[in-house]
């Protein structure tokens, strides 16, 4: 935003540094676009430790299957996830024993998600992810808020997303971004 950049310039001048503070606070790290034939797992590895938080933004093309999409971290599964979901007729809540970010059903078509992974480099706290995800198919669909817990104080250097009973079809795109603090 223009006002943020102006404040950074003023801050830099007042500090005597002669140069504005960095404005590159949200950066693209890596992207996977799925080609013909699909793929079973999308992995981001060697994640740089120079950011404060991570955001994963995803679009999954029409998958037509019942499958949970789970995130794993440093090769290990997340511990828990809670979900608040609407299916077009009722709101419900569930508990998962892994870091599920979306539960797709045959009639829900394509879906999208935005997942935030907070303080991923910290070695003193466990990790939390939160997801807004949903898919609509003109008469069917579901939208929900997922909160996941990773019972580990290790810094996260890799993450993977895996459908439990399907794959990522062609034209799906998953992108990893870093947010500086």
């Amino acid at each position: 935003m223009w006002w943020a950049r102006l404040l950074n310039v003023i801050s830099g001048l007042l500090s005597g540094a002669g140069a504005p503070a960095s404005t590159t606070s949200y950066e693209s790290i890596a992207t996977t676009t799925v080609g013909a034939g699909g793929t079973t797992t999308i992995t981001f590895s060697s994640i740089p430790s120079t950011f404060k938080h991570l955001q994963i933004r995803g679009f999954v093309a029409d998958n037509a299957t019942n499958s949970n999409f789970e995130m794993t971290f440093n090769g290990s599964a997340g511990t828990k996830a809670h979900r608040l979901m609407g299916d077009g007729s009722a709101a419900s809540s569930d508990l998962y024993n892994s870091a599920v970010i979306y539960a797709q059903r045959t009639d829900t078509g394509q879906f999208a998600f935005v997942t935030d992974l907070l303080d991923y480099t910290s070695t003193s706290i466990n990790k939390t992810i939160r997801t807004l995800a949903g898919g609509d198919n003109n008469g069917a669909g579901r939208v929900g808020l997922w909160s996941g817990f990773i019972n580990s104080t290790s810094a996260i250097t890799s993450l993977a997303i895996t459908p439990t009973a399907s794959n990522f079809p062609q034209y799906s795109k998953i992108a990893l971004y870093g947010i500086k603090g």
Binding site: T23, E27, A112, V143
Partner: protein, 168 residues
């Protein structure tokens, strides 16, 4: 390796007066991966608001939502509509600054797939809403219209800021 800053402000619209029923972002570049609109403001008559792409109506819009009104959680949907219904239980009201919304338009320029939009809408005096919306069109989104309906108009000072996010 990171590709540099990529949460780019494209345009901001601030409503002046109380006669604007539609705010439109047009000629949107196809060079980004996702678009985000951040909104804050009010409306002249309490009501839902809507979103339409490329000036196109018909029956190509549908959605599923999850809502809370302070006493109960609910879910519903609409089908084969001429535009996205953005708010339901968290619609703007006449109180200035009472309503905020974040619209996420995913993969908006892809000319092969339909378009999915995630919307979070909030009004502290009314409720909160999360929705997923589908535009059953493979056309790239080049304009986004944020609409009031009936006699309602966007409130004076209501702001909409469009951002582009570009993946590496």
């Amino acid at each position: 390796m990171a590709a540099g800053s990529t949460y780019t402000p494209i345009a901001t619209s601030t409503v002046s007066g109380t006669s604007t029923a539609t705010v439109t972002f047009s000629s949107i570049s196809g060079s980004y991966t996702d678009l985000i609109i951040v909104a804050n403001g009010s409306i002249t008559v309490n009501d839902d608001t809507y979103v339409q792409f490329n000036g196109s109506g018909g029956t190509a819009y549908s959605g599923t939502y999850l809502a809370g009104n302070g006493s109960a959680a609910s879910s519903g949907r609409y089908t084969s509509n001429d535009r996205i219904v953005a708010d339901y239980t968290s619609y703007p009201t006449t109180t200035g600054g009472s309503w905020t919304a974040i619209y996420q338009f995913m993969n908006y320029s892809n000319a092969t797939t339909y378009k999915t939009c995630l919307i979070r809408s909030n009004n502290a005096g009314i409720g909160t809403n999360a929705g997923v919306h589908l535009w059953s069109s493979t056309a790239a989104i080049t304009s986004i219209a944020l609409q009031c309906t009936g006699s309602s108009k966007w409130g004076n000072g209501t702001t909409f800021t469009l951002y582009g996010i570009q993946a590496a």
